[in-house]
Amino acid sequence: MIRTRRAAASPAPARARRTGRRSPIASVALVAVGLLLTGGAYTLFTASSGASAAIDLNSAQTIAEGKKLFQANCATCHGLALQGTAAGPSLVGVGAAAVDFQVGTGRMPLAQDAPQAEQKPPVFTDTQTKQLAAYVASVAPGPGIPESKYLQADGNATRGAELFRINCAMCHNVAGAGGALTEGKYAPNLHDVSPTHIYEAMLTGPQNMPVFNDDNLSPQDKADIITALKQTQQNENVGGFALGSLGPVAEGLFLWIFGLGAIVAFTVWLTAKAN
């Protein structure tokens, strides 16, 4: 039934386009193409840098650099042999993925004692982060930095969205807007998180986030989830500004403050005596 309706409706726009409203369409299309190209290029660029093609994580030199950095910046809490202290957990076997996530998102080193480590501008450069990761991975094996083929956001969005709803949405919100946990902790907003870090978070379960190992969510599952997240965000504004994707609370507040506010302003104007 719906299909027939769609088919019946389609000739109309085609006719309309032929009757010479070409220029606005063309400019809009041009802008869209431009945006798509830049966006695509950006995605490619970030993906390739995330894949750390430039650094060999297994080279002795990288590991040695990482060790120096670790001893200078991390060992106070995590111990000289990664064994952990009262101030920080053991890092034996956490793998390169955990280091890349924690240091790459600025969560480590910790800034202050808070319910949970906050995302902030990273202290270390990308290269330094990779060196640290290489060093920690060299001490004991653990989950590695994900392969770039899983980070392209080109998987099955439908499957990914369903997996996201079942495994992630309860904490991160179905639109990835984040949500509250107990005692001041929270699940962060996922809007500006890179595919690499999303993958690493699932793989290593930072802080109170559970671990989603490859038996639970296979690498392809994780790639699908990343795809779905990116697709959802791209389409967030179909109906207009998304008001933070916070759902009915944001909508209700907006209606009361701006919608009803505007209408009350009109009533005041309407009933005020004219000059």
Binding site: H172, G178, A180, T182, G184, Y186, A187, T267, L270
Partner: protein
């Protein structure tokens, strides 16, 4: 005191203009219509009906207009919506749902959004207008409450309006649940769980409503019938009745020079109010359209189809159900017990009964206040809120109670956005729910009394002109300017009640209900500022 038996009004009794018979096509048409409907009587009676001007008198119109917008946009949506929970596979434009199994209701809502031109716009108009409908009813009720416009003879209209408010919430909730998406599905799950907790019949009510186990395949179709047939019919009928009473009672007006309890002063329906109120409909529609154009509402494609296993952080109902959700959230741990091998869920019953009682008090308030004052006169002059400090304070307490419950429904968002712990937010709100209304009551009452004192001093001594004068003796004084008669009238014309003195009745006894009444009356009117009289002004001018 003159008594008039015939209305003293505009040209109602004057004969029809001679132009009508020779007015060309318009004249012919009006004549045709009148000879078949007698419409000239209606025009004579209502064409120059007077409507007083105040911004707050337009709030009810906002509700009426948003209902019209809802009817228009809703009719459009019904042409495309399928109220069925039959399984289908989505194959439309939204990639992250392609190939997924969902109900026909969800699929058709997605198709309205993404395949029908203007469909998304109409959905958003419908939803924004629905939020506006309930909000404007709420604001309208607050205006009626705080100005005492519910007093005799308008008590029944208050009740009708109250029922409309409840019906509007029901309309909203049934509509919110129709797309069968994850968010509204979890909302229904919560309602089902609440219904289940009702003693004795709870599980059976759920069984009947859902046609068996939750979620079943019946609920969307049943809600749809309620949403587009029964509830709108009831709303429409009650709106009609509500407006009939507005015509019968004529609108209230604020005290002002020339305005009495026996007249109504303002602009006639034809032409001024037709232009203003008619134009206002388009303004309300335009504001709703603007919101629908620029701001997304209820993006069900993000939520996905309903599935009993997933849930989203920040799962909240639309704003008008928020107070109920908040009440559920604020119940402390442990309010459930087993007695005689049966479970009593106080964690559900207390919110349900508590909110029911709150709403019952709202509905009954006009009768309560009339009993306390014993005033059986008709009241057509709206009170300024400050002139009834206790009523205003009760209203402020009620608003605080409601607002706290409402805010509690977003406790998780408050926690994340203000970097607080969720436990701290909830505990704070539990205290606020109990203490907040008392604080609001006392603060509001004091503010009202202070404002009344200020009014009194202005009526007695005039206002500070800002002009400093040096007296011959070297003393500086600020000149107070007397207010004119018109301004003073606004300040001194209000109802004043004194506390009830209980007296024994004919048989020499004081019945208990009279004692209760006396206590309430003292509560209402113990602290009072009397209106300024001529004697007061004369006395003060001798100083």
């Amino acid at each position: 005191m003159t008594t008039t038996s015939e209305p003293l009004a505009y040209d109602r009794t004057e004969p029809a203009d001679a132009r009508r018979s020779s007015g060309g096509i318009t004249g012919w048409a009006s004549n045709y219509l009148d000879e078949r409907t007698g419409i000239s009587y209606v025009v004579r009676e209502f064409g120059r009906k007077i409507f007083p001007d105040h911004w707050s008198f337009m709030l009810g119109e906002v509700a009426l207009y948003s209902f019209v917008i809802i009817l228009l946009s809703g009719s459009f949506l019904t042409f495309f919506f399928q109220a069925s929970m039959a399984d289908v596979v989505y194959n439309g434009s939204y990639v992250p749902l392609k190939g997924l199994q969902m109900s026909a209701a969800m699929q058709s809502t997605l198709n309205i959004s993404f395949e029908v031109r203007g469909g998304l716009l109409m959905r958003q108009v419908h939803h924004w207008a629905a939020l506006l409908f309930v909000a404007s009813i709420g604001l309208h009720m607050l205006r009626i409450f705080f100005t005492g416009a519910f007093r005799k003879p308008r008590e029944i209209n208050w009740l009708i309006g109250f029922v409309l408010f409840v019906l509007a919430m029901a309309e909203g909730f049934t509509g919110y649940s129709l797309p069968d998406d994850l968010l509204s599905g979890n909302g229904l799950r919560i309602i089902a769980g609440m219904v289940q907790g009702i003693p004795f019949i709870g599980s059976w009510i759920e069984w009947f409503v859902f046609g068996g186990q939750f979620p079943g395949t019946a609920i969307v179709g049943r809600l749809y019938t309620l949403h587009i047939l029964l509830l709108p019919a009831a709303v429409l009928a009650l709106i009609g009745l509500h407006l009939v009473f507005v015509v019968v009672h004529k609108h209230t007006q604020f005290a002002g020079p020339g305005r009495t309890n026996d007249n109504v002063i303002g602009y006639p329906i034809l032409p001024v109010y037709a232009a203003k109120a008619g134009g206002f409909f388009f303004i309300v529609f335009g504001v709703v359209m603007l919101m629908a154009t620029f701001f997304a509402i209820n993006p069900i494609w993000t939520y996905g189809p309903y599935d009993p296993s997933p849930v989203s952080a920040g799962t909240q109902p639309d704003w008008y159900i928020g107070f109920a959700d908040g009440a559920l959230r604020l119940i402390p741990h442990g309010w459930e017990f087993v007695l005689f091998n049966t479970t009593y869920s106080l964690n559900i019953l207390v919110p349900v009964v508590g909110l029911g009682a709150f709403l019952a008090v709202v509905a009954a308030y006009p009768f309560l206040e009339a009993w306390v004052t014993g005033d059986r006169r008709e009241h057509h002059i709206s009170d300024r809120p400050r002139n009834m400090p206790t009523r205003t304070a009760i209203g402020a307490a009620g608003v605080t109670f409601y607002a706290t419950l409402w805010a509690a429904a977003s406790s998780d968002l408050i926690a994340t956005h203000f970097r607080e712990s969720i436990e701290g937010v909830i505990t704070t709100m539990q205290f606020a729910l109990i203490l907040g209304p008392f604080i609001a009551y006392f603060v509001t009452k004091r503010v009202c009394l202070a404002l009344q004192k200020k009014d009194r001093s202005i009526a007695l001594h005039g206002f500070e002109s800002g002009r400093i004068v040096r007296l011959p003796g070297g003393e500086y004084i600020e000149v107070h300017e007397q207010v004119d008669d018109f301004e003073r009238w606004r300040l001194v014309s209000f109802n004043d009640y004194e506390p009830l003195m209980v007296r024994p009745n004919a048989s020499g006894r004081i019945p208990p209900q009279e004692r209760v009444r006396a206590v309430l009356s003292r509560w209402f009117f113990e602290d009072r500022i009397e209106p300024v009289t001529r004697t007061d002004v004369e006395l003060s001018s001798h100083h």
